[in-house]
Symmetry: C2
Subunit: 181 residues, 2 copies
């Protein structure tokens, strides 16, 4: 069965990117977290931006349809030293959020600092530390890829509370004209 | 009748922005351009980014459903002096493109330079010049707002050719996994 059990909350974490958008799905039942799925949506570097955005939208729509998460959490991306890269990353993140809100998922946002604090306990953790802690917290047999680990870490940060727990109040609600109704 | 006549191509131009996304719809029949509609989708500055993206998606989906354009053209945004603004603008543009590709519209991209060259004849035109020329080319009784004028100008640039005419070949085709099929 792919849907979450009734007493659990299924969370979809997203690590946005134009080349590769990481995703991670976990179930939270009380204080217990369980791994459901993870991976990434890769786009064709030779495609046009609209084509690559379509790939991200279609990929995330398929993931949402398959795993039916109830909440979503997405990393707040940092400003790159290269302004053109910042613009591209922004557009990829806008597309990822578009896929989430189109599926009527409440979307919480977390900085990389918040995600690292939630998973490793401090904000200056190295990428490998995040991967190792994600594997440990979710009792994975191996280490997930960096993109998938970041996405799972974002979902864990959301499960652990933080600013995003306010989003729990929005479950089952819908948005109209950008407002909750 | 809201749909385009059979011998015309209906083009939706978009001037992306987080606060306000301008749109302009024109019909091209041979060398004749006709104004159909224009305006903008405004988002609530106090809303969260996901809420604002939802507003852009819903607004553009409604415009596409109402006017049923066959092609879309969107301005390539410039990198802002403020990196945080660049990131926000990028996310708004990503959402706008998401709305267009979700509706299976072929999307052409034009720089502000290309748009100004197509409408005014040179790339250093002032905003007021663009507005005045858009009003003249489309025989409007008054001057459209700046956002709407930029969106109409982008649609005109697409109608006039430029790099984007390659997109004409994609009409009626669909994309799968970011590729034309």
């Amino acid at each position: 069965m792919k849907t979450a059990a009734t007493n659990t909350i299924r969370i979809l974490g997203i690590d946005p990117g134009l080349r590769s958008t990481g995703f991670g799905v976990i179930d939270k039942a009380g204080n217990t977290l369980a791994y459901v799925a993870s991976g990434c949506v890769k786009t064709d570097a030779e495609g046009s931006l609209p084509q690559r955005i379509k790939t991200i939208l279609d990929g995330l729509a398929e993931i949402i349809a398959t795993y039916q998460p109830q909440q979503a959490a997405i990393e707040i991306v940092f400003v790159n030293v290269n302004p053109q890269s910042t613009l591209l990353l922004g557009q990829a993140r806008g597309a990822a959020i578009a896929a989430l809100v189109t599926a009527n998922l409440p979307v919480a946002e977390y900085t990389a600092l918040q995600v690292k604090q939630a998973v490793v306990g401090h904000g200056k953790a190295a990428k490998q530390q995040v991967q190792a802690m994600v594997a440990r917290l979710l009792q994975l047999p191996g280490t997930p890829s960096a993109d998938a680990a970041d996405a799972l870490a974002c979902a864990i940060a959301h499960a652990h509370g933080g600013q995003g727990m306010g989003a729990l109040a929005t479950v089952g609600r819908r948005m109209r004209n950008g407002r909750l109704v």
